[in-house]
């Protein structure tokens, strides 16, 4: 029983990991809490649906195309909205992202309507192993997310782009002084964020369904995970996501299911009290 919960929790956490990463990156490099993540997830889900069921791509191809679509939209949003607001401070950006989330969600609703849809993915009976039920979706999700994380880690740690992104995150002025073109880095960061959320949207759609509210329901756990991990730390976001996922599943052992989300927040609080900068965040002066 516990084993099953651990498995379910890990996969739930992995589902949250990509959007949590996106939020962490936005915060670290773009310096504001991005509330458009919900709308972007929804967009990713619908993009995946279009490529998969309407244009006939297999799910893998459809997810990549969906990820690319959201990446493109994210960059466009930066050009049209976020880029122009960069000098206005993070709060303006935050509120703008709330507006953008509303726009993205309702754009999907406008074009596709309210109906709940599904991707053209075979649903299968689970594998049984050591008393656990492991569904195919869980395997696919885990593989996709872990693959993404490894890729992202490599990009951040070994490529010039990654180094530039980290430089901008740590000290934009110094980075500029060293010739790192901030605008370009920012656009590329948005593209990466878009790729992550787009893929996550498709995974969410496989897990649940394609409908206008699918992204919205992830928004709060995603933020909780990102903040728990220490905003600005990608690995922290992943750990935070796993912590949220696991605590939400394991909570059912001790509290009625309808309160399990509250438990995950309690766990977050405890973790933050123990480690006040978030799991991996760097904190200095506390006011």
């Amino acid at each position: 029983m516990i084993g099953q919960l651990l498995l379910n929790g890990t996969v739930s956490g992995l589902l949250l990991a990509l959007p949590a990463l996106a939020v962490s990156l936005t915060f670290g490099i773009l310096k504001f809490p991005n509330f458009a993540v919900g709308g972007s997830l929804t967009l990713g889900a619908y993009a995946g649906w279009v490529f998969n069921t309407q244009l006939g791509f297999q799910i893998v191809g459809a997810s990549l195309l969906a990820a690319a679509t959201v990446a493109l939209v994210s960059v466009l949003l930066d050009v049209a909205v976020f880029g122009r607001l960069r000098e206005q401070g993070s709060i303006a950006l935050m509120v703008a992202s709330m507006g953008v989330s509303l726009i993205l969600e309702n754009l999907c609703r406008f074009v596709f309507g309210n109906a709940t849809r599904s991707l053209d993915v075979d649903v299968a009976r689970p594998l049984r192993w050591a008393g656990l039920r492991i569904s195919h979706e869980q395997i696919v999700t885990a593989a996709a997310v872990l693959g993404c994380l490894v890729l992202l880690h490599l990009v951040l740690r070994t490529t010039p782009l990654g180094r530039a992104m980290r430089a901008v995150a740590d000290n934009p002025t110094l980075a500029a002084a060293r010739g790192i073109e901030r605008e370009v880095i920012v656009r590329l960061t948005w593209a990466i964020i878009g790729l992550l959320t787009g893929l996550a949207g498709v995974l969410a759609a496989i897990d649940r369904a394609v409908e206008p509210l699918v992204g919205w329901s992830y928004q709060i756990p995603v933020f909780a995970a990102a903040i728990l991990g220490g905003l600005g730390s990608p690995l922290g976001a992943v750990l935070g996501a796993l912590a949220v996922g696991l605590s939400e599943e394991l909570a059912t052992l001790v509290v009625p299911t309808s309160y399990r989300q509250a438990v995950s927040f309690a766990v977050i609080l405890l973790l933050l009290l123990v480690r006040s900068q978030g799991l991996l965040g760097a904190r200095a002066v506390r006011k």
């Binding site: 909205v81 401070g89 507006g99 509303l102 726009i103 309507g113 933020f223 309160y259 977050i268």
Partner: protein, 320 residues
């Protein structure tokens, strides 16, 4: 038509109260509250449960007190945390409140809520004038709160808060007194949110959990920003702006020829999002008097590059 406008004005008044509270917590004291909906809900439910027992006035006081108390509790919880983790604590609080409201039916009526909430002065007013009377009550309340908060902001208490908000080094060296001031500021904001909840309960006379969701918190932040953050006067215009967007789009959609119902709804809500974004984009350059708050200061970062001069909120009316 007037009754409809009265409805809208009452809702704007309630939104203004929430905005005033948020502006005090965040604009003045630099405390981020993502659980706004939870505090308002507390005030509303406290009012709903207590008014039949102790009368509306005592119930309102209780609502404010309860909200303030929980604000203190949350602020204390986050004392050990890097300062702005208040955000996640309040977020969790908002969620916890929502869950309790939904699941503890014996107390809150659960998903079905509480109906038949009596209004203040109900027995003295003819039913036709009930809404007008409530509007008057709401406006009076907003006026009183506005005056009190303005006084607080200009007081030594307020000045210290604003100074501390912008200079973390000084704040760190002062430690304990700072924390107490912050907690007080958070509690004041919480109390006002409780009052807003009470007004909401009186107006709707029926409350249920669906009235206090995360979108409420979003609308509150939007209202504060739309008005020009830091200005209490501006915030009333901001609250009115959001309301105009929400309600004005009802009429716009009536002008559009037959579209699918979901499409019309999507246009409307999407229109609110577009409205907000346009508002932010078309902001005239250079008219901003409030301090530039970067993400850095929103969610604790040691490098507080150029904290601009803190303006005295509302004593310099902006863009009117």
């Amino acid at each position: 038509m007037t009754a409809y406008l009265v409805t809208i004005l009452v809702i704007v008044a309630i939104a203004t109260l929430v905005g005033l509270a948020l502006n005090f917590q965040w604009g003045c004291a630099g405390l981020v509250n993502f659980g706004v909906a939870g505090f308002v809900a507390l005030g509303a439910y406290a009012t709903a449960l207590l008014t039949p027992v102790v009368g509306w006035f005592a119930a309102m006081l209780a609502a404010a007190a309860l909200s303030a108390l929980l604000s203190v509790f949350l602020a204390l919880l986050s004392i050990r945390l890097a300062d702005d983790y208040l955000a996640i604590v309040t977020l969790g609080f908002g969620e916890a409140v929502r869950l309790v409201l939904l699941n503890e039916g014996w107390l809150t009526g659960g998903a079905l809520g509480i109906a038949g909430i009596p209004r203040p002065f109900a027995s003295l007013i003819a039913p036709e004038h009930a809404d007008f009377a409530l509007l008057g009550f709401a406006v009076a309340l907003v006026g009183i709160v506005y005056i009190i908060l303005e006084a607080l902001v200009r007081s030594p208490f307020g000045r210290v808060l604003r100074a501390l908000r912008d200079d973390p080094v000084v704040a760190a060296s002062l430690a304990k007194p700072v924390l107490i001031l912050r907690i007080k500021a958070f509690a004041v904001g919480g109390a006002v949110m409780g009052l807003a909840g009470a007004m909401h309960a009186f107006y709707m006379t029926y409350i249920d959990p669906s009235q206090f969701t995360a979108i409420t918190t979003s609308y509150a932040f939007m209202a504060v920003i739309a008005g020009g953050r830091g200005s209490n006067t501006g915030l009333m215009i901001g609250a009115g702006t959001i309301m105009l967007l929400l309600e004005g789009t009802r009429f716009l959609k009536d002008l559009i020829p037959a579209l699918d119902g979901a499409q019309i709804a999507a246009l409307r809500l999407g229109g609110v999002g577009v409205g907000i974004v346009l508002l932010l984009l078309l902001r005239p350059q250079g008219l901003l008097r409030e301090p530039q708050r970067k993400a850095a200061s929103l969610l604790a970062d040691p490098e507080r590059a150029d904290a601009a001069d803190p303006s005295l909120p509302a004593s310099h009316p902006q863009e009117i």
